[in-house]
Amino acid sequence: MLPKDISHTVKDCAPSISMYGILELLAGIVLAGTINKLEMIPGVFILLPGIMDMKGNISCALGSRLASALHLGYIKPYFHMNRDIKANIYSSLILSFIASFLLSVFAFILTLIIGLNVSFVALLLISLISGIIAGVVLTFLTIFIAFLSFRRGMDPDDITIPFVATIGDIFTIFSLIVAIGVVGWIIGI
């Protein structure tokens, strides 16, 4: 028989982790379904983990800051513009832009090291277009969820991050598909 604290932890966590894992399969299916498009542009797979991590690095941090700001009363849970909201929105959008740019540079350096022939412009455009689309959508989605959960009397800390982490992947993959479509159209494949 297992010690009590182990079985409690397992009972508390296993159902929700399985549920999020199964939901995330949606993101995986969409990803695998577009494999032909992804393979058209060499080097896209090098970008993939970085693009998928951005929601965690930028939007989850935003969610966590908004939760604190709501608790502290710096912002109110309805859409309005004050300096705290502006600082949070603008910094997330600017970080999405900088991170997308840096990611394409790092990915390009890697392709040079491993000797893969890849167009930097294609990597840059895919990273920027998908990063900016996902950045804008996820920033406003994060704000919406944080406000909604706070208004309903729930703690936005508990709601926003798991929600953004799961839905974020699905949005990110859609934005990547849009970006590949646009870039494919520009460079003519």
């Binding site: 982790i17 399985s18 995986g28 800051r65």
Partner: protein
């Protein structure tokens, strides 16, 4: 947690606070991307791609639970550095059991989805063996890193709540992607 007033937000400060860690994470993500790209030619690549987002998030979720429990244990004085650590051992055991249950379910669901959408999968036994072995190994390695990070942070007076999450995001992808494809190769034999 100390309750000091962090003051109002400024755009410049948020960006400068986050940029170094984001840059570091992007470098590690690029290395994970290299391993993903390297396995592109594998016959089962597409089937494995289906579980990549779930896989990375699930190992991250399990390690986060362990990280935050160990952090709380340290804050509450239930874990004392240098003594025999029953709580740490129990948390690690719990993480491995959760990994066993959740990755078993993931394997079944992924294979069922593949059969449903594609007409054929890679076989229930094979898929479950891959998700289980890669999932449990990744969870174990990630949990060890998280435990060491939490203990070292606490020892040096840094709040472990602030250090375990970046460690999980940074290493989770890399260890996850490497393990997933490595175990797939071992099990399928390709």
């Amino acid at each position: 947690m100390d309750n000091r007033d962090i003051g109002h937000y400024s755009m410049g400060k948020i960006i400068m606070d986050m940029l170094p860690i984001i840059t570091l994470l992007l470098i590690v993500s690029t290395i994970s991307g290299y391993f993903l790209n390297k396995n592109l030619g594998m016959p089962v690549f597409v089937s494995l791609l289906v579980v990549v987002p779930s896989f990375i998030n699930m190992t991250g979720d399990i390690a986060s639970v362990i990280g935050s429990r160990i952090s709380s244990g340290l804050h509450l004085g239930k874990i004392v550095i240098g003594k025999r650590q029953k709580l740490i051992y129990h948390n690690l055991m719990a993480a491995l059991i959760i990994a066993f249950i959740t990755f078993f379910i993931l394997g079944i669901c992924a294979e069922t989805l593949l059969i449903f959408l594609n007409g054929k999968g890679i076989g229930y036994v094979t898929f479950i063996l891959i998700t289980l072995s890669a999932g449990i190994t990744t969870t174990f390695i990630l949990s060890i890193f998280v435990i060491i990070t939490a203990l070292l942070s606490y020892k040096y007076g840094i709040d472990p709540d602030n250090t375990t999450s970046p460690i999980i995001t940074t290493l989770g992808d890399l260890i996850g992607v490497i393990n997933l494809f490595m175990f797939a190769k071992i099990i399928i034999g390709g």
